[in-house]
Structures are given as C-alpha cells and as structure tokens.
C-alpha cells in the first residue's frame, strides 16, 4: 500500500489489486476513522477525502488493520433480471457457451459491489468466482436504457439511468438501482452483495 498526495484535502491510497481495494475499503467503512469525510474506492485505489488534519488521517490510514479479500458490508440485494439482452449471444460466443450457460453462470455467482463510477449509483460488481474478461463493445451504444444489466472487463453492473454505454448487455431489471426518493438512493453501494435471479 502506497499513500499518494492529492492536494489539500485528500489522500490516494494505491493498492496491489481489487481484492486489496475490497478489504481496505471494508476496513475503512467499518471503523469510521476520525477526520475522514468520504471514501471513494476504484479499481486499484481508494481516495480518502479528509475534513480533519491530513497528517492525522494519513497516520490513521497507515495504522488501519485490514486484509485483502471480499468482505461484504453484510447487506444483500437480489435483482430479478429478464435475460433478453442484445449481447447475450455474443457474450455466449466469447465464453464458449450458449445463452443458458451465460445466464446460469451470471445467476449462480455471488457478486460484491467493489466501487461506483461512471454515473451516480453505477456499481461495479465483482464475482466471488473467477471473473470473465469480457471486452467492452468496440463502439459504445449512444443509448442504453435504465435497468440494463451489462458485463465488461470482469465486472457486471446495472445502468442506473438512460445513458450512452459500452458494456455488453445481458438483460434488464425493473428494480431502480438509483432512486432519489429512497434512502439510501443507491442500492449498489461498495460492500453490498448482489445476486441476480432470472425472471
């Protein structure tokens, strides 16, 4: 772990891999470290935004006990999915199986939200089994509907609202993963465990 400077009010913690990000983030969210105002995990890093003294926060981060691994926050979410996505057949071809095989693999895995990005409430979910490395579309779609369930680069995710997007689409869910009238607004927060069920 390397703590890199990020201006007056933040530190960027660089870690070896996604497992380390998951473990470090879980430890940080559990502890409520004084002076930490926000925790923003990403693929290899965790940005820690401070509202207290930066040197104190750095010292606390360096003392924080943590170990790599998928340790969820304890919250579980089940998302019913219509597996009728436009890229289901293409993904099956890439993985050397058929559409049913993709659905079986997607629904049998348990996923953990590793981090959010791209849009408010877009959670990057990583599987508890060996991830598939499915490439993004060579040319992104200009319009992906809200609720579309996609796959890219070892992650699965659900589009929280209509937007452009380059993930390979497996299906769609009717559950609003980001809803401003709900508290919390985001269903797929870092540390939440997710299962997809066919419907």
């Amino acid at each position: 772990m390397r703590v890199l400077p990020s201006g007056s009010s933040a530190l960027l913690v660089e870690l070896d891999d996604l497992d380390a990000v998951l473990g470090f983030t879980a430890a940080l969210l559990d502890r409520a470290v004084p002076g930490v105002a926000d925790v923003v995990p990403a693929a290899r890093t965790v940005l820690v935004v401070a509202d207290g003294d930066l040197a104190d926060v750095r010292a606390a981060l360096e003392r924080l006990p943590w170990r790599p691994g998928r340790r969820g926050s304890g919250e579980r979410v089940e998302l019913p999915v219509h597996y009728d996505g436009a890229d289901l057949a293409a993904v099956a071809g890439l993985l050397g199986t058929d559409a049913d095989g993709v659905v079986a693999a997607h629904t049998s895995r348990e996923w953990t939200v590793a981090f959010c990005g791209f849009a408010p409430g877009f959670g990057y979910c990583t599987p508890d089994a060996e991830p598939w490395d499915v490439p993004r579309l060579a040319s992104p779609r200009t319009r992906v509907p809200a609720g579309a369930v996609g796959l890219a680069g070892g992650f699965t995710g659900v589009y929280p609202r209509e937007s452009p997007g380059g993930w390979q689409l497996l299906g769609r869910t009717d559950v609003a993963v980001f809803d401003l009238s709900r508290d919390p607004a985001a269903l797929l927060r870092p540390g939440v465990r997710v299962r997809f069920v066919p419907c």
Binding site: P5, A10, L47, G121
Partner: protein, 277 residues
C-alpha cells in the same frame, strides 16, 4: 419568493454541496467559489448551509415578491446596489445584474436562503451528473426560507474584487506526477496558462505548452476532488472546479490548494493562470 425574469448565460442554485457521497458515484458539487457564497450567507445572517444563486457573467434579473434582505458577492455586477453590503429589496423591486468588469461568478443571497427542494441533502445543481434543480429559467418562482438566527451584524464586507489580470495560485503535489516528464512538471509549475472558452463548472481547460508524458498506457480510473490538475493525452491540463467526475482515468499531476480553487472559479476565458509550488 423571488421571480426570475432572466437567468443570464447560466444561473444555478448552490449550497455547500453533497459531501460524503463519492462512494456511490455522487460528486460534491456546491458553489464554485465557496468563500464568496459563504460570505454572502454570513452578510444576510443565514446558516452557512443555506442555498444562494450562482450567476455566471451577470445577466440575472430577479424581482423580489416580498421585502427581502439581500446581498451579492463575488464578481461585482453593475446594477447591484447590495454588493458586499446587504440591503433591503422592497417587494416589487427588480434586481438587474449587468456584466461584471472582472470575475465570472456572482452570488446572490437572500435572508432565509433559496428554499427549493433538496436532492440528496443539497440544493446544488451538479451540471455534470444532472442532480439537483435545473438551471434557472425565466418565469421560475424561487421560494425563500424562513429567516432564523440572529440578524446580521456586518454592514459592509471589505473584500477585493476578483482580479482581471493574471492570477497566481499554489500548486500542491498530485498522485500521478510521475506520469509526466521532468520538463512537463517544471512547465506545469512555471508556464503561463490561459483559460479557454470551453471551461465551465466542471473545470477550466488550460492552454499553454504541451505537457509530455513519461508514461503512456492507461491508468485505471481513480478518485479525484476539486483542484485536481488532470493531464489527458493531448497534454493540455484541466483544472477541476465544482462538478468534476468522481473518478477519472487520466493522470492527476498536481492539485491547486483548496482555498485557491475559489479564486480560480472567478477566472474568465482568456485570463492567465500561474501555478507556483
């Protein structure tokens, strides 16, 4: 109540933003020049969390529908009788902000605060994510909150207007300085940078010498906050202001000190910025 007669090029409602939600992909947003917005609230005796109007390059015309204690701060617009000096706008009074001779953003605070419906705990418009109220349009009616707390005790705030000439701010280390060549790092902290016209609340696009990278390849996206100086492959840096993306995939080579970001938010296209370590 305030009636918007004209919004100018861009006027939004802003408060201190949505801190603490970066983990779910929601940026902080909030007033681009936080110090000016906080001063405006203080001068009318508002809570620091009250919402104000952020007007870009003047042009905002509003009518007070009741007697309102109001003040403007930031860029000084001709037509504001209450700039840095709070005063009563009688019901029916029209406040017509002209184009400021220097600075870019003017904050209008009314006692009680602009009381539009908060989204995720804030009334700020985030122009990147689209969260918060839409930018103001002619005909909008803006509710004003109930005033609470002691009446303000300050008549005039002696604050300098934003400069029209070059601005020098403090440059702090960023996490990916090692992605730039030594020469590029030297240039970042010494060359004059010009603010370009395609700048907005998300960030200032800076024109100047091309910053060569030492490392090519792709950086996995990582978290950033306002003040970040990101260097895309074009070599032209972007200084992020109030509404940056929560994570970005280009290296952040440095940061502008947080207090100084407020001053950068007052820079207009064509103005010169210098970064000093």
């Amino acid at each position: 109540m305030l009636t918007v007669l004209a919004p100018g090029p861009l006027t939004t409602v802003q408060d201190r933003g949505r801190p603490g939600l970066g983990g779910i992909g929601v940026g902080r947003s909030g007033a681009a020049d936080r110090a000016s917005a906080a001063l405006a609230n203080r001068l009318v005796g508002n809570d620091v969390a009250a919402a104000v109007l952020e007007c870009t390059l003047g042009g905002l015309v509003v009518r007070a529908e009741a007697d309102l204690l109001a003040v403007t701060t930031g860029a000084r617009c001709p037509g504001s009788p209450v700039h840095c000096a709070p005063g009563l706008l009688r019901a029916g009074t029209v406040l017509d902000l002209g184009s400021p001779p220097s600075g870019l953003r003017t904050y209008l605070a009314v006692r009680g605060g602009v009381d539009v419906v908060p989204v995720l705990g804030s009334r700020s418009t985030d122009v990147l994510s689209g969260l918060g109220p839409a930018p103001l349009r002619a005909g909008d009616l803006l509710p004003v909150g109930r005033s609470s707390g002691p009446p303000p005790g300050v008549d005039v705030a002696p604050v300098a207007d934003p400069p029209s000439g070059p601005l020098t701010v403090r440059l702090l280390p960023g996490p990916r300085a090692d992605w730039l060549t030594e020469e590029a790092l030297r240039l970042l902290g010494s060359a004059p940078w010009t603010v370009t016209a395609d700048s907005n609340r998300v960030g200032l696009r800076l024109a100047g010498p091309v910053l060569e990278r030492r490392l090519s390849g792709e950086l996995p996206s990582e978290g950033l906050v306002r003040g970040a100086l990101q260097v895309p492959p074009s070599g032209a840096p972007v200084l992020f202001l109030a509404d940056p993306p929560v994570t970005g995939g280009y290296p952040v080579a440095g940061y502008v000190a947080d207090d100084d970001v407020d001053r950068c938010a007052q820079l207009r296209p064509g103005q010169e910025l210098r970064l000093r370590r």
